[in-house]
Symmetry: C2
Subunit: 216 residues, 2 copies
Amino acid sequence: MQSFTEENYLKIIYHLSVISNPVQTNAIAERIQTKAASVTDMIKKLSEKELVNYVKYQGVTLTEKGKLTAINIVRRHRLWEVFLVEKLNFKWDQVHEVAEELEHIKSILLVERLDEFLEFPKVDPHGDPIPDQYGNFADLSFLKLSKLKTNEKGTITGVSEHSSPFLKHLEKLGLTLGKRIEVSEIIDFDGSVELLIEDRKINISKEVAKHILISK
Amino acid sequence: MQSFTEENYLKIIYHLSVISNPVQTNAIAERIQTKAASVTDMIKKLSEKELVNYVKYQGVTLTEKGKLTAINIVRRHRLWEVFLVEKLNFKWDQVHEVAEELEHIKSILLVERLDEFLEFPKVDPHGDPIPDQYGNFADLSFLKLSKLKTNEKGTITGVSEHSSPFLKHLEKLGLTLGKRIEVSEIIDFDGSVELLIEDRKINISKEVAKHILISK
DNA sequence: ATTATTTTTTAGATTTGTCTAAATTAAAAA
DNA sequence: TTTTTAATTTAGACAAATCTAAAAAATAAT
């Protein structure tokens, strides 16, 4: 059984692994709002418990055991987010901090019953996939355009916002279903995205990119 | 803002206050599964924060501030118990440990929305009253017979178990609505209760006593 | 290839909540 | 009232998770 703090480290390492593997001490320190020295201490502890592979000065990777634990935390976090939005009428921007606490409640029965109560949701309110109890993610054939990295390509397969003004905006830009796009640049300053579509270059805000669903 | 541990102490002190006031160090130690020395340490800390009144060797009482905090924890605990039983189909005997964790999640919005979602329940699955956000308990005109102390009297005003075998059992014993009873003795060994009813003496199990509702 | 810079680690201290063992106070018994 | 017993507190230590400051290693720059 892991402590609250250990679980937090595992979760952060899991998320950072997607971006770069192995994960650096400083990256963890920044995300967890602590000092690099503290991270080193905790990593040693997690390494002794065989939850991470640790080589001095080389950063960490999760072991199978650590990864499974991390995915389970992510599962709990996202299920609670669904609960908060769908049952308690939270706004999507209000759920994160609360889910951050709820995710650490251990009862297996609680999580399975919650999953059932929510009718086995496959994605959380932000469109992120919810793994099952064995750590498997449903193979969602789409992901948000905002999750693509520079030079990645994809086909527009849906939207997650159905308001008329939004759809009209996409139409004007030529961003309609079935169109093939490539991310040519992500602007650091505001997170906006430069796209290549039919040899034209267009720019869309981060907000818009979040609501466009892509399959590769 | 209090820590998880501080909250637990306040909650336990609150519950023990009902039985004896001020509350003794040893009583807290036993309930919280720790040593008397640790309790003394924590009490000093709570006293500095003006959550309890503490006089050396005399035990503790809650201050207004401490009492309000404690009642709020009780509120959260009982609301979560209702949620677990009514929405997630937990059995009444499965809820306590989980609610023990859930009660420490701080978000005020969460608790108010949960209350609303559950349609403002007045009692938890065990019949214990749920205070409102200001710490006021609905003046329930009944309480469980099992909560009466020796020599206390009351009138039977309801039951919290409606199965046919149970009701037949009560009828046979003469324990019907409107009857006046007095607790003559509580047997330590099994928690069973000896009652005086219409000058007869009868004995009922703790289980049965729990499901009989009384008004004084 | 050396030097400079950044990143990471070590060493030692701090805080929170706990513990044991000994000392103190209060309560009960003689 | 004195003695015995029980409850409580103090003193000092410990584990978890953190910190600062200094040392060591890796990376980047010249």
